[in-house]
């Protein structure tokens, strides 16, 4: 054991095991790419739905309607929740999210199998919790905004809370995800002063940013 080469190997082993067990490092670049593609397709459907006739109609009427009009819209339903689930846009969003999450999960699952890292171990659980807390807080916050008729800030809030979730997650996975988080926060904040263009900011944040992040991560870690 007094062989320096072995000491070096021991230290590398220690480092490797500490890293593998404390951070979930199996997040695949392909997951980012696939989630981004799903988001762009979803945004395409939403665009079709919002602009069926004239393509150069850019302002989203839901987002720029007055708070009073929005409240009257909400009041047509028994509750804001009922109003939300009866909206086609909501279902486009849900389907997009499910598709993005499922496709992202598949690539990451495959990578974790390849690296022999438990997909539902301590590291991935911690990652999940760190993502879920800002996301759930954001969800409740946005629900209340809809109830109060503040539709215009829903899209920006979504980006900001998602960005915060990613920033928080960067402690428990590959740290580069923090830059994706910061990008989402910046886009969300810019969107606060461009009410009505939420769909474009979503396409940029959830679509293009994910794809760019995925490509960078793939280039760095999975290219071989």
């Amino acid at each position: 054991m007094n062989d320096p080469q072995r000491s070096l190997e021991s230290i590398q082993d220690i480092r490797n095991m500490m890293e593998r067990s404390s951070r979930f490092i199996s997040l695949s670049g392909w997951s980012g790419i696939s989630a981004g593609v799903c988001a762009l397709v979803g945004a395409g459907f939403a665009y079709q739905y919002l602009h069926p006739v004239s393509k150069d109609f850019v302002m989203d009427t839901y987002e720029i309607m007055s708070v009073q009009t929005a409240r009257n819209e909400v009041a047509r339903f028994d509750s804001a929740a009922e109003g939300i689930i009866s909206s086609a846009l909501f279902w486009i969003g849900v389907i997009t999210f499910v598709a993005a999450f499922a496709s992202a999960f598949i690539f990451t699952y495959k990578k974790s199998k390849k690296q022999n890292i438990p997909i539902w171990g301590k590291a991935s659980k911690r990652l999940m919790f760190s993502v879920m807390i800002p996301m759930i807080a954001g969800g409740i916050f946005m629900y209340r905004m809809i109830e109060l008729g503040i539709f215009g800030l829903v899209a920006p809030a979504c980006l900001v809370f998602y960005g915060l979730a990613l920033l928080n997650a960067s402690k428990y996975t590959l740290t580069e995800i923090r830059y994706l988080g910061i990008a989402q926060i910046i886009l969300g904040l810019l969107n606060c002063w461009s009410i009505g263009y939420g769909l474009y900011f979503w396409a940029a944040g959830f679509g293009i940013m994910h794809i760019v992040y995925g490509l960078v991560m793939w280039w760095r870690y999975e290219r071989n």
Binding site: M1, N2, P4, S7, L8, S10, I11, D13, I14, R15, N16, M17, M18, R20, S21, S22, N116, I117, P118, G121, K122
Partner: protein, 101 residues
């Protein structure tokens, strides 16, 4: 002048790569389940059990047997003694490498 190397500080218990791996995982994770350890280290049940026994007998790890539903859930935690021994071992490794630089 090369730093004198104290081989005594290199712990025999950590001579095995697997035991060293187990300790590394437990040092950064408050408690770790048997199954997760098995998957992280890529070893068989028998192999992990025998290495765990060595660590336990030396007082370096603590076992806790619990249940999740009906399934047994065994988790391991590193003891104070284990943590200290691991640090001493790391220092010895560091010294050894510094000695040759």
């Amino acid at each position: 002048m090369p730093v004198p190397i104290n081989i005594d500080n290199l712990n025999k218990v950590f001579d095995s790569r697997i035991r060293l791996g187990i300790m590394s995982v437990l040092m950064v994770n408050a408690d770790q389940s048997y199954n997760d350890l098995k998957e992280l280290l890529q070893i068989t049940d028998g192999n992990l059990a025998s290495h765990m026994k060595t660590l336990e007998e030396n007082g370096y790890v603590k076992v806790e047997k619990g249940f999740i539903g009906r399934k047994t859930n065994t988790t391991y935690t590193v003891t104070k003694e284990g943590s200290a021994a691991f640090r001493v071992h790391l220092d010895a490794l560091e010294k050894m490498i510094k000695g040759i630089l």
